[in-house]
């Protein structure tokens, strides 16, 4: 009987296991293997060589690009968290009526029904030298020259990131917040806590798992992105994703694979550290 249940358990787990092996483990193994190969412009040569890694670690550009990737990730994270937390807090605690709550929440998601690229590219005419933002600022007399840094700069890249990914912060935080027992907040108030104290001592600790899930979403999305950086910086800035996409475009698959492996390891380390702080399983 016991043995029977054992087999049953394995059988139940096997479809997912097979899918993960086929579509996650095998591709990653392939990437790792290819990262040790060599390439010319004509062909890919299987082999075992550290050349790709040597070049990667030997080039100062790699460090700069990784630094830029972390910079984008950190700033975007801080801003999406600030905005996401505020929006979620408002939805969860200030709106009492559940219907209104759901309606407003759906309202937040409406812009996300259009494509990522469209939402990103629509910033370009807005921020350009002769764009809407600049002509507005000049007609109001705030500036007398168009601001060049509005477009094709770190500013525009981060702006697009924040715009694209804030929802990924709102959703998990809102989800955790709605689960907070309102009697806990009443208890805090009864015990004389100010609004701010309730926020920092009750709500924030209880929202941590949601924040953590949102953080993982935002960090992985930003660190793996290349198209936003390419469009919003006018190809002038680079992050690791662009390094990989440039390599692929130029048929340098092994070198792209090596960069991808290093990026994967970096992201895993970051997530590993984050998970040390919060046990998100408790939430799930």
């Amino acid at each position: 009987m016991l043995k029977n249940r054992h087999i049953q358990g394995w059988l139940q787990a096997s479809p997912l296991t097979l899918i993960l092996i086929g579509f996650l483990i095998l591709p990653i193994i392939t990437i790792v293997v290819v990262s040790f190969w060599q390439a010319t412009e004509f062909s890919i040569i299987p082999g075992f060589s550290f050349e790709n890694y040597e070049f990667l670690f030997g080039s100062p550009v790699t460090y700069k690009v990784f630094f830029a990737t972390f910079k984008y990730a950190a700033i975007t994270w801080a801003m999406t968290l600030a905005i996401g937390f505020t929006v979620a807090y408002y939805l969860a605690f200030h709106i009492q009526n559940q219907t209104t709550q759901i309606a407003l929440f759906l309202l937040c998601t409406i812009p996300f029904w259009t494509s990522n690229i469209i939402r990103m590219i629509s910033w370009i005419p807005f921020l350009g030298r002769n764009g809407i933002a600049n002509s507005m600022l000049q007609s109001w007399g705030i500036t007398d020259q168009p601001l060049e840094w509005l477009l094709y700069s770190d500013f525009s890249v981060i702006l697009a990131f924040v715009h694209l990914y804030t929802l990924f912060m709102v959703v998990p935080i809102f989800n955790t917040m709605t689960r907070i027992d309102h009697s806990l907040i009443e208890a805090a108030r009864d015990n004389g806590a100010s609004g701010f104290q309730t926020l920092t001592h009750v709500i924030l600790p209880l929202t941590k798992p949601g924040i953590m899930i949102g953080t993982i979403f935002v960090l992985t999305l930003v660190m793996g992105d290349f198209i936003t950086v390419r469009f919003m910086s006018g190809s002038q800035k680079a992050n690791v994703g662009r390094l990989i996409s440039n390599d692929i475009a130029l048929l340098q698959y092994p070198s792209a694979a090596a960069t991808a492996v290093i990026l994967l390891i970096t992201v895993l380390i970051v997530i590993g550290i984050l998970l040390r702080f919060v046990d998100i399983r408790k939430e799930l």
Partner: protein, 421 residues
């Protein structure tokens, strides 16, 4: 027979073509089965035009499926997915990269009817007997192979051609004369601090490096042995000059696709940049002044051609040869020349152009009437002349051909660093 497809779409298209009146009699009497042949062609947007596919259906009876991609994707596909195409419409420098993979088959010159009329550039490299052959991957250097299955390029004309030349052009910098307000005569202007934050270059390494080299050489900073085949030292020096300019904020953006280059120019973000001829036309058609500025150091030129997949055989291969002969017979040439490109066999194209069009596009004469594109957009008014003038003036001043270098991999890495720096 994987090449024979009986799809509903093919049948529908066949019906549509049968309704359309044929301007030309079909050059051969075809068996009924030819109608069921579908050739899959892919290439860059410039010559992958639906109008061409429609005309093929009309004139030749079989179906041509077109896929347009950017040059990087074209190279990738030709090199890595040989089963995905029958006809590759690629540039000569891409051919140098792709030919050694064995994904393309050489063409029998004796089956090409208009071979003798093909412009000299693609045969012995000389436009006129006095011409000097430009640097870079000149088309004739990768245009022929030693024999039918050979993977090495021949030094002179042989009976086996790698690509049948289709279109080519001479590229230079595009400028916004209304925003610059003074004559531009040299490639050095791209790095002139006067245009700080208003210049752009294209982010396609193999072409971008050429534009860079044209600039560095014009500045007198670097003397290249061969701009199309630089040494590591030359690459380093070139990149250093441009990296410094980038750090100083010379460039507003880099562009990778045609529409990006059009938008940068039309919006006024950029006033001087590397550009392609139809992009100039696209900016002009928005009513914005834009000039394809001839420069004293000469042009950077490119040429494209169609190659046959190694998988083609039997009737599909016959259809492909028929297509090539049709391609060189003039209709496509006329169509493309009316967009500002050149046909490999200009004299056959002449029959498909009006005297005014031929004079404007090929001979560099002032237009006697309004010049319109094949799709009906007005490109020039009566009295205007083409930027750069006549065919022999433009193609006779080529300084360098788009190319792929021996140190390509090194250059690519340096390019990546340049973008990331």
């Amino acid at each position: 027979m994987s090449k024979m497809r009986y799809s509903r779409r093919a049948v529908l298209k066949g019906g549509a073509a049968a309704v359309a009146a044929s301007a030309l009699p079909a050059p051969m009497v075809w068996a009924q089965e030819i109608k069921d042949i579908t050739l899959r062609q892919f290439g860059t947007g410039v010559s992958n035009l639906n109008d061409v596919a429609n005309k093929v259906k009309e004139d030749l009876g079989f179906t041509l499926e077109m896929t347009a991609l950017d040059s990087d994707s074209v190279t990738q596909r030709a090199a890595t997915q040989p089963d995905s195409f029958d006809i590759a419409d690629i540039e000569y420098w891409i051919c140098k990269k792709v030919w050694p993979t064995g994904n393309l088959q050489a063409m029998d010159v004796s089956k090409i009817a208009n071979y003798d009329k093909i412009v000299g550039i693609f045969k012995d490299g000389k436009l006129t007997p006095e011409s000097v052959i430009a640097q870079g991957t000149a088309p004739h250097t990768v245009g022929f192979v030693e024999g039918e299955g050979s993977k090495t390029f021949a030094k002179e004309q042989t009976n086996w051609m790698t690509l049948i030349p289709t279109i080519y052009n001479a590229d230079t910098l595009g400028i916004r004369p209304d925003l610059i307000g003074r004559p531009i005569e040299s490639w050095t202007e791209l790095l002139n601090p006067e245009f700080k934050g208003k210049a752009s270059i294209l982010d396609i390494s193999s072409i971008g490096i050429m534009d860079m080299a044209m600039v560095c050489e014009a500045m007198g900073e670097i003397q290249y042995g061969d701009k199309g085949n630089m040494t590591r030292e030359e690459i380093d020096k070139t990149m250093a000059i441009f990296t410094e300019a980038k750090k100083n904020g010379q460039f507003r953006a880099f562009w990778k696709t045609f529409d990006e280059s059009v938008n940068l120019m039309a919006s006024g973000e950029v006033v001087i940049q590397s550009m392609w001829s139809p992009a100039i036309t696209a900016v002009k058609s928005r009513g914005i002044e834009c000039v394809y500025q001839p420069l004293k150091e000469g042009y950077r030129s490119w040429g494209g051609g169609i190659g046959l997949s190694a998988n083609l055989s039997g009737m599909a291969l016959d259809a492909a040869y028929e297509y090539i002969n049709w391609y060189l017979s003039g209709w496509v040439g006329g169509y493309l020349m009316r967009q500002g490109y050149y046909s490999a066999v200009p004299e056959t194209s002449k029959e498909f152009m009006s005297e005014n069009e031929w004079g404007y596009w090929f001979e560099g004469k002032p237009a006697t009437d309004v010049i319109t594109s094949p799709t009906g957009d007005v490109l020039a008014q009566a009295g205007e002349t083409r930027d750069g003038g006549a065919f022999y003036d433009r193609m006779g001043h080529v300084a360098c051909w788009n190319s792929v270098m021996d140190e390509n991999q090194y250059m690519v890495r340096k390019w990546n660093e340049f973008i990331a720096s």
